[in-house]
Symmetry: C2
Subunit: 207 residues, 2 copies
């Protein structure tokens, strides 16, 4: 208790951000009230407004922080000079690791995705992601490597989908297929890094 208070006094503003991040990620924007955040932070509502002016501004600050934590790497990997197989492995490893450490990100982002797609798209562009260029890069790989696919856009959607979906639908899948055993499902996700890579590569390998 003493320690908590000490830490809080040291920097209330940051403390609020940490707490709010947790609460927002667990309950979504509509599902959390300023009161909930204030309680969790051990302060009152007014102080939230003092630091962040409105619920909206507080939320967006958090959202952009979460976002920038995992998006930028995407472009870097795909614009690099690795082979496509290496890219696939690097991507799944990187992404699923981020999500394994922060399993609520996919659900959190998905929830906002349908409400503010234009804002989201802008954030992605600001992070330096350019789908056109990524598509071109993949097309180049097709000519140089022993692989084939009909449309790189499907390939990209497949890759992202396979990484994100098991986190986004986790509450359901874990319940239905793993008797709601948290650890068992985490292990399943851990295996899945290799599983998805292999699956993707098998699917596009000529044979």
């Amino acid at each position: 208790m003493v320690k908590v208070m000490a830490e809080r006094s040291r920097n209330t503003e940051e403390h609020i951000l940490e707490v709010a991040r947790k609460v927002f990620m667990e309950n979504g924007y509509d599902g959390t009230s300023m009161q909930m955040i204030a309680n969790e932070a051990g302060i009152n509502k007014s102080l939230l407004h003092y630091y962040y002016r409105s619920k909206d501004r507080l939320f967006h600050q958090i959202f952009e922080k979460v976002f920038s934590q995992f998006v930028p790497h995407l472009g870097v990997i795909f614009m690099s000079e690795m082979t496509l197989e290496e890219k696939v492995r690097a991507f799944t490893d990187r992404y699923m690791d981020v999500f394994l450490e922060n399993p609520l990100i996919p659900i959190f982002v998905m929830q906002e995705l349908s409400k503010n797609p234009q804002n989201l798209a802008q954030l992605i562009r600001d992070a330096g992601i350019n789908p056109e260029l990524m598509i071109n890069k993949i097309t180049e790989s097709l000519q140089q490597e022993d692989i084939e696919m009909k449309d790189p856009r499907h390939f990209l959607v497949n890759l992202i989908g396979l990484c994100v979906f098991p986190f986004a639908a986790r509450p359901l899948i874990q319940r239905m297929m793993f008797a709601n055993d948290e650890e068992a499902y985490t292990q399943f996700l851990e295996q899945r890094k290799k599983e998805v890579s292999d699956f993707m590569i098998n699917a596009i390998r000529k044979c």
Copy 2:
């Protein structure tokens, strides 16, 4: 206008259900108010309560209806005596057709998925879906057909994910990769039925 009124008088109860379904699917549970539904239906809030007692009951009635519209087929296909390849093709065709006709279903379900997983899981079981049995069926296929995979559970998650994800993340993907062109993206999804089947089958074919 006259026609609308006539139809409404004929059966207000059903009319409410139709309107509420649309509004709920477009805005999610938290994003819609009883006032919005009443306005859209051309009646007032009290009447909503008269017919459905509460927002919650109205919502669940709609949700279960939407759900039963696409879930039950899943089990039937996978418990049938088709080859695994046939099952994959039947599944993607069937599912993506349902979603193409009703593109908001995946987002709608996803939104509830994180809030009421236990309710959702129960609905699925009530629809006769048993993941255990489906897994067993897939394992049987492995011995009889010229395919291989490490873990049928990953296979199942992959299949569902590849079908659902492009609809769930549509607002973002359409914007980023298709200049927000609705028609172009619909066409992309249409192609995708074959694309996903081929992709899945390639990935598990021995070679």
